[in-house]
């Protein structure tokens, strides 16, 4: 009888542990083109994590860009299916996502995770600007960047020019470095097929950011209109940049590395790629402001969100995986591989990263640019407002409307659209 009981007990324990061993699924939707160097890194890390945590199954889902991830999450949730547990989406999408209840707050997970509070505190304040809404924490920085000015230091030295310290100098330098009306080389290229982001440093450099809070935009502020005019001046007055809208986000970095343009305004996320392909000394700095000695930049990039509709177990596992991914050493390694700015103080403090910054001064410059960075456009109905602003910016750049008319129209349209949210 006793042997039977013992056998039963052993069986139950064996069965019990067998049942409990079903792995928790954590999936991460990451916005990247199908074949980018980052995917290899992320895959390696997820393998490593699974090896260390056999009770967790990590799936990486790569899809297009930030809008594609967001749309996929939205459609999945509305379709009644479970979206990927974690998703990297724009930090500025927070209002839309929270209002539509597509993401869950991280507060309770932070409270119960080991060293949760310290984990959150370690993030640089400049990058936490869009993480809080309605008093709760909704996302943590994942890959954050800033808009900077890349310049060909060798060309500048050859032309005996110093890096520009104001709009005036920027225009004149670009003019001096333009060869053959742009056919051989442009002075500067500014991608504007999705203009709001590369344009913001110009507005900030003029003295006013394009928005003040989630319900107030400043599109027709005189400073912003002046910034639009400056962009036009670069092609019309200084003849240093291609006229109109420049659809060159993908190609401007290649042009810069090939010497076809002396300067570009681009994301710090392109730094690694540029350093690899450029055969000259690359200079990095924040975008010069209007007044001499002023600098301007704007933050960007994606945060890690927890999507709605998952069990507590899944959410805990997801948060643990997030903490693993955002470990200071990995954040530092990620930055080194990509040029995204490390967003944790402890990451920049590692000896390894300090050594790398000494080796790659451009990285330090990128981090330094952060000091002049103001928040990226983030309002309610962000898609709608961005579309309006982009359309009117491009109308002004293409000359179909004057800067004043375009910006007034943008302001009116945005106000109307934001009225629904008040």
């Amino acid at each position: 009888m006793k042997r039977l009981a013992l056998l039963c007990a052993v069986l139950m324990i064996a069965l019990g542990s067998g049942i409990a061993a079903a792995p928790v699924e954590v999936s991460l939707a990451y916005p990247v083109a199908v074949d980018a160097p980052i995917t290899a890194m992320l895959k390696a890390w997820s393998q490593d994590y699974m090896a260390k945590n056999p009770d967790v199954k990590v799936t990486l889902i790569f899809s297009g860009g930030y809008p594609d991830v967001k749309t996929a999450i939205q459609t999945a949730i509305q379709g009644g299916a479970k979206p990927p547990t974690l998703a990297v989406m724009l930090a500025t999408d927070v209002y839309d996502l929270v209002n539509a209840k597509f993401v869950d707050s991280l507060d309770d997970l932070v409270a119960q995770a080991p060293a949760g509070a310290a984990f959150v505190k370690d993030f640089l304040p400049a990058y936490m600007g869009n993480s809080y809404y309605k008093g709760k924490l909704w996302s943590v920085p994942f890959q954050r960047s800033a808009v900077v000015l890349y310049y060909n230091a060798d060309l500048f030295a050859a032309a005996k020019l110093a890096p520009p310290k104001s709009w005036d100098e920027l225009g004149k330098d670009a003019q001096a470095l333009t060869v053959d009306g742009g056919k051989t080389r442009w002075g500067i290229e500014i991608p504007t097929e999705n203009p709001y982001w590369t344009f913001q440093p110009l507005a900030i450099g003029a003295g006013k950011n394009v928005f003040s809070d989630d319900l107030t935009v400043n599109f027709n502020a005189p400073e912003v209109i002046d910034a639009v005019q400056f962009y036009l001046d670069l092609s019309q007055k200084y003849k240093a940049t291609p006229p109109g809208v420049q659809a060159s986000w993908g190609t401007s970095t290649q042009n810069f590395a090939a010497g076809k343009t002396a300067m570009i305004i681009h994301t710090t996320g392109s730094l690694a790629g540029i350093l690899k392909t450029a055969k000259f000394k690359v200079g990095v700095m924040a975008v010069p402001g209007r007044k001499i000695g002023t600098l301007a930049s704007v933050t960007g990039g994606g945060n890690l969100y927890l999507t709605a509709g998952h069990s507590l177990e899944e959410r805990k596992a997801a948060f643990a995986f997030a903490q693993y991914l955002l470990d200071p050493a990995r954040v530092a390694a990620f930055s080194q591989a990509t040029g995204y700015i490390p967003h944790r103080s402890s990451a920049t403090a590692t000896a390894e990263f300090k050594a790398w910054m000494a080796q790659v001064p451009q990285a330090a410059d990128a981090v330094a640019a952060l000091a002049s960075a103001q928040p990226e456009l983030a309002t309610q109905n962000l898609n709608g407002v961005k579309t309006i602003f982009n359309n009117y910016l491009q109308a002004a750049f293409n000359g179909t409307q004057s800067p004043t008319d375009a910006m007034n129209a943008a302001q009116n349209a945005s106000n109307k659209t934001l009225a629904d949210y008040r």
Binding site: P67, K70, T71, Q74, T75, Q78, Y95, D96, N99, A100, E193, V245, A247, Q380, N381, N383, G384, T387, I388, N390, N391, Q394, A395, N398, A413, D420, Y421
Partner: protein, 297 residues
């Protein structure tokens, strides 16, 4: 219709047989139409707390649409797209049909060459053209260069040219398909009529304009309708080539519909655009039916 002796058993059977088709058609065509109609009368936006529960707004969505410059731009885009694409398609399809009518060496090969894009998914056609349209080494630009073109090269990224890039892809994909109908029409013509006209002295272009075109009027009408409906129904190439841009200059109605519902989560407005889209297509189909019936009388 055959009369069959109706027994008790057969009184119910026809209804049962028709039921499956009826159920599916009702569930996925008729009811959705009704849903859209009703839904379009409500303001329902998933990302605004105030409108997460639908609020009755009468024709508000429609009024807002017609006041919205973005929607008006979509209408304008559609106008340009249709005006550029349809006449070109019709003329090219007809000319090709003439060329391919009759016996000629290598006919099968030529027909294959003209027709093959139709078989491919529009997504593939768009990816092929994406590469083809690349500024610089893209063959399209090299071809244009041969003809002395010196304008902007990045068609898909240019606000004034993007819509034409879309029309170009749609043209390449559909001209073979439309040519087929003209070809059938030409091959079914009564040769004696044409011979008579030719004997009468009509030749070349006069023959075409005076005799042949009127004879294939039904085909022409029909082809125009398909071309028109096709232009509205497929927007795969917008997803691939331009994503509606730059600045919304290449947003076509169905793509706009998708954006409204799935990107901006504006359900009410999405329904309104659905209704408008269907009304336009219905109007076209009905007009075609009426015109062809009148013609036959």
């Amino acid at each position: 219709m055959r009369e069959v002796g109706v027994t008790n058993r057969h009184r119910v059977l026809p209804y049962l047989l028709v039921a499956p088709t009826l159920v599916f058609v009702t569930a996925f065509t008729l009811l959705p139409l009704g849903e859209s109609l009703v839904g379009s009368l409500f303001k329902h936006k998933l990302n605004i707390p105030r409108f997460q529960i639908p609020i009755y707004a009468g024709l508000g969505n429609y009024a807002d649409l017609f006041k919205d410059p973005e929607f008006l731009q979509v209408v304008a885009n559609t106008g340009i797209y249709v005006l550029a694409l349809i006449p070109l398609l019709l003329v090219a399809a007809l000319v090709l049909a003439f060329l391919l009518d009759g016996r000629i060496k290598g006919l099968a090969f030529f027909r294959l060459a003209v027709f093959h894009p139709t078989v491919l998914p529009l997504v593939s056609a768009a990816t092929i053209w994406m590469f083809f349209l690349t500024p610089g080494y893209g063959l399209w630009n090299q071809l244009l260069h041969l003809f002395g073109y010196s304008g902007p090269q990045n068609w898909a990224g240019n606000p004034s040219l993007a819509i034409f890039a879309l029309a170009l892809v749609a043209f390449w994909k559909n001209v073979g398909f439309l040519m087929l109908f003209f070809l059938t029409g030409l091959q079914n013509l009564d040769h004696s009529l044409i011979e008579a006209a030719r004997l009468d002295g009509a030749g070349g272009l006069r023959l075409v304009r005076g005799v042949i075109l009127p004879l294939i009027r039904r085909q022409t009408l029909f082809v125009t309708t398909i071309a028109f409906i096709g232009a509205f129904q497929t927007v795969d190439h917008v997803f691939v080539l331009t994503q509606g841009g730059p600045s919304g200059t290449s947003t076509l109605p169905l793509y706009y519909l998708w954006q409204l519902r799935f990107e901006r989560l504006d359900v009410g407005r999405g329904d309104a655009v659905t209704v408008l889209l269907i009304l336009v297509l219905l109007a076209f189909t009905i007009t075609n039916t009426l015109m062809s019936e009148r013609h036959e009388n």
